[in-house]
């Protein structure tokens, strides 16, 4: 039955950049419907590259990727059609600066999905309401704070009713006080059963939201574990070492 087919499935995916750098060296991963996978690992280990292969922003040199059981990494794939089903939000707030919030939200539904403007509009307003920005529909991106822009970027991805959402460190360039409002939106999506691959450096968030943690290092998946186990008793030395960088040793003052 359909329930057994993973929503996203990577098999031995190899990504070599044109300069010869092997960013993914045989990555296999199945993500089932409504699953939330947290991807963590040191900088440069290939997390962003992994997400970008799923919607074809990076072509792969080996292995295969399937969406709902259908292999998409074959010649002749219509990437725009695939991407319409795979939402992605990036680290940099990347709203289109010349369009209002509403303009940003309507662009893809009306041009790609050919939804009527009225229908897309009412959907946009409902989603904006949900992220607490219903009153900002006519503002330009530059009038919004970073956290507000990032919430709009999430809504923009949701406008296409994606089957899976790829989030690449979406809070990494935000001021600390704005991180929470964005993560709360993502937590809400998880509760509603959105399938998500989330790359994050927010370990507490990963622990709270993920059904499964993938730990990567040097282009490979090194450890796969439920968050409760990964964050308390990681098996691989690499993961232990990585998690140690997030804790601080207590400093003892010796006033003698």
């Amino acid at each position: 039955m359909g329930a057994l087919v993973p929503t996203v499935s990577l098999k031995d995916v190899v990504k070599t950049y044109s300069n010869g750098h092997e960013a993914l060296r045989g990555v296999s991963l199945d993500v089932s419907r409504s699953e939330v996978v947290g991807i963590v690992g040191p900088s440069g280990c290939g997390k962003s590259t992994l997400l970008r292969t799923v919607n074809g922003l990076e072509p792969i040199q080996g292995g295969s990727i399937a969406l709902d059981g259908e292999i998409i990494t074959v010649p002749g794939t219509s990437w725009p059609a695939i991407r319409a089903k795979v939402g992605m939000v990036f680290q940099k707030y990347d709203l289109f600066p010349h369009l209002t919030v509403m303009g940003n939200l309507l662009l893809a539904p009306t041009k790609v999905a050919k939804v009527s403007k009225a229908e897309a509009r009412s959907r946009a307003l409902a989603l904006l309401e949900r992220v607490g920005l219903a009153d900002r529909a006519d503002d330009l991106p530059r009038q919004l704070s970073g956290g507000q822009q990032q919430r709009v970027a999430i809504v923009r991805a949701l406008m296409m009713e994606p089957e899976v959402l790829l989030l690449d460190e979406i809070t990494a360039s935000l001021d600390p006080e704005m991180v929470r409002e964005v993560l709360d939106v993502v937590l809400g999506l998880a509760r509603d059963g959105m399938t998500m691959l989330i790359v994050t450096h927010e370990m507490d968030f990963a622990r709270a939201i993920a059904d499964r943690i993938i730990f990567m290092d040097e282009g490979k998946i090194v450890e796969v574990a439920p968050p409760s186990r990964f964050f308390t008793a990681p098996e691989s030395p690499r993961a232990q070492q990585f998690l140690n960088t997030f804790t601080f040793q207590e400093v003892h003052h010796h006033d003698e």
Binding site: N55, L57, R83, A84, H98, R142
Partner: protein, 231 residues
Amino acid sequence: MPPSGLDVLFQGTNFLRLLGGLWVAARIALISMALSVLLGVPVGVLMTSRNRVIKAVTRVYLEFVRIMPQLVLLFVFYFYVTMILRVNLSGETSAIIIFTVWGTAELADLVRGAITSIPAHQYETGYALGLTPLQVQMHIVLPQSIRRLIPAAVNLVTRMIKTTSLVVLIGVVEVLKVAQQIIDFNRFTYPTASIWVYAVVFALYFITCYPISLLAKGLEKKWALSSQPSH
């Protein structure tokens, strides 16, 4: 009381003649600019090409036009090229041709700059939403490029109007030439005329160029794309 140089301007049709001269200058600038836009946009798009030959040719063209003083280009064209080609071109036509050659290069470079200034993640965000490359160009790159381009292009108009003062040297009777004629004609009756006439010429240039440059500033501000949180 000696006659003031200012009176010269209200003698006969002097002031109207100055305005007529200004119109000649503005006409040269506007026709050249219109032609520069027509030619500069496609050349600018070509300049973003990855083709090495196209890149090199457009680069050499731009550098050449930038390095050569406009006056040299005007002289060479008006006195020699027309002679070699055995064509008879008026000073004004020659000026329009040279200013178009110059304006096309400058505008093309502005177009190139406007296109390449759109960050890569704007393209990627568009692709990630399912837009085709053509749709990304149409709805994301082009509108942003135009917003960046227009204020700079408007500024180029003022630079052109100012540079038209050079065409006096190839015999075009524009505002500066008219001013000189008025001064020369009244040298003995109004010895102080020159300062007043030049002051008026200065004012005319200012009145023409300042609103244009204000317009450029206004557009720049209105279309600012940067994301500065307003809180």
